[in-house]
């Protein structure tokens, strides 16, 4: 038997084995006992395509994605803010938006730091409703006195020159603002121990005028 026949035979047998394996996998997929028991299979069933691990920035459309600022937390961790449009295949968010009948395209800010990423989105065009797209990130809780970390980050309209947070204790905290409109502010350990949180964001223009006072409720 020539080497060509050996190769041919090997390929045929391997293909046969793969076909048998595929049959087994397929029959398992049809077996209701083998289905992953979830409380709601509605969206899971709609996304049965095996997906690879998704890097966090894949939540945003690549051509719209840009890093708008990097800030350092009080613990020394870096938080990077990336702006862009929501990727249509980022199912974790598109599924809930669709279900909530939110049909407008979304502009988002992705923040990455300390083992977690977050995404906050608003209808496009951005800044139509408000001059700020913000999100509050916390570690610990749910009681505010249990927070071990608490910061607010986001993106502001270009005409905003200064941001000030008003706290539940009546004080104010100034935010760091990047040249690309990203901002970041964090409460300190003493404030967290007292259960202090931010209640409002005040946005000021270059001339010092108050442009918007946004309640976080």
């Amino acid at each position: 038997m020539t080497m060509r026949r050996v190769v041919l035979l090997t390929v045929v047998l391997a293909a046969l084995a793969a076909a048998v394996g595929a049959g087994v996998a397929s029959s398992r997929a049809d077996d209701p006992r083998a289905a992953v028991p979830t409380p709601n299979r509605q969206s899971a069933a709609a996304s049965q395509t095996p997906a690879p691990e998704l890097p966090a920035h894949a939540a945003l459309i690549a051509s719209t994605r840009q890093s708008v600022g990097t800030f350092k937390t009080k613990k020394g961790d870096q938080v990077e803010l990336i702006a862009g449009d929501l990727a249509p295949d980022f199912d974790l968010l598109t599924t809930v938006l669709e279900d909530a009948k939110v049909t407008t395209q979304q502009a988002c800010v992705l923040d990455r730091g300390n083992g977690y990423a977050g995404l906050s989105c608003a209808a496009k065009p951005l800044f139509k409703r408000s001059l700020v797209l913000y999100s509050t990130t916390a570690a610990g809780g749910p009681a505010t006195t249990e927070y071990t970390e608490y910061y607010i980050s986001g993106l502001v309209h270009p005409k905003v020159a200064r941001i000030e947070a008003v706290t539940s204790a009546g004080g104010t905290v100034a935010a760091d603002l990047s040249g690309k409109g990203a901002f970041f502010l964090e409460l300190g350990r003493e404030q967290l121990a007292q259960g202090v949180i931010v209640t409002n964001l005040r946005l000021y223009g270059a001339n010092g005028a108050l442009l918007e006072d946004r309640s976080l409720k």
Binding site: M1, V6, L9, T10, L13, A14, A15, L16, A17, A18, G21, A22, A25, S26, R28, A29, A34, V36, P37, T38, P39, N40, Q42, S43, A44, S47, T49, P50, E53, P55, A56, L92, L93, T95, V96, E98, D99, A100, V102, Q106, C108, G115, Y116, A117, G118, S120, A122, A123, Y134, S135, T136, T137, A138, A139, G140, G141, P142, E146, L216, K217
Partner: protein, 185 residues
């Protein structure tokens, strides 16, 4: 050697042409290589090798396929949909189930105005990470978004209306599940 001689003699006695037995050389190729008759025993041995190699290749292919079939993949499910949530009301997904599913993220979508908070909560009920937003869509997820990250601790996804108006939000859990049909490991 003696058996080869007797076999040759037997064939000659039968009046056959001078036989070419296994191991005999009986010419050269155009490249000048010597052509050697392959005997039945050698053929059998070679056949065994061929089938052995083919069988191993088949097992290898089947193993590769089986491994691919056991892969985990990311998906999501809505654990709260279509109902109203008054201010302060929340809803949660199931906790991670070892070998069955592992949450990696928590999301919420709603019609503005309104404020929602999404969280990943550990088995002790502590909110490991939460995110609040007021513009209609918010997500928190482990980063790097890997299987190892999702299996680091038992958790569930949770969402709560943290604003001052009643909402009709949709909340989802992103999680890793075995490949379709594989069931729980």
């Amino acid at each position: 050697v003696s058996s080869r001689s007797s076999e040759r003699a037997r064939l000659r006695a039968d009046g056959a042409d001078p036989p070419v037995l296994a191991g005999d050389t009986f010419g050269t190729t155009t490249n000048g290589d010597t052509m050697t008759r392959v005997g039945s025993t050698e053929r059998r041995v070679r056949r065994y090798w061929i089938f052995g190699i083919a069988a191993l290749a088949s097992v290898f292919a089947a193993l590769i396929f089986a491994t691919a079939a056991l892969a985990w993949f990311q998906t999501q499910d809505l654990y709260w949909s279509g109902g109203t949530r008054a201010p302060g009301q929340g809803a949660g997904s199931l906790y991670d189930h070892q070998g069955c599913w592992y949450a990696y993220g928590s999301s919420a979508g709603w019609q503005v105005p309104g404020t929602m908070t999404v969280a990943l909560i550990n088995a002790n009920g502590n909110w490991v990470r939460s995110k609040q937003e007021s513009d209609g869509g918010v997500v928190v997820f482990v980063d790097p978004n890997t299987f190892a990250g999702a299996t680091a601790y038992d958790k569930k996804a949770h969402c709560v209306n943290s604003g001052s108006t009643t909402l009709t939000p949709s909340c989802a859990r992103g999680y890793w599940a075995p490949s379709p049909g594989e069931g729980c490991a």
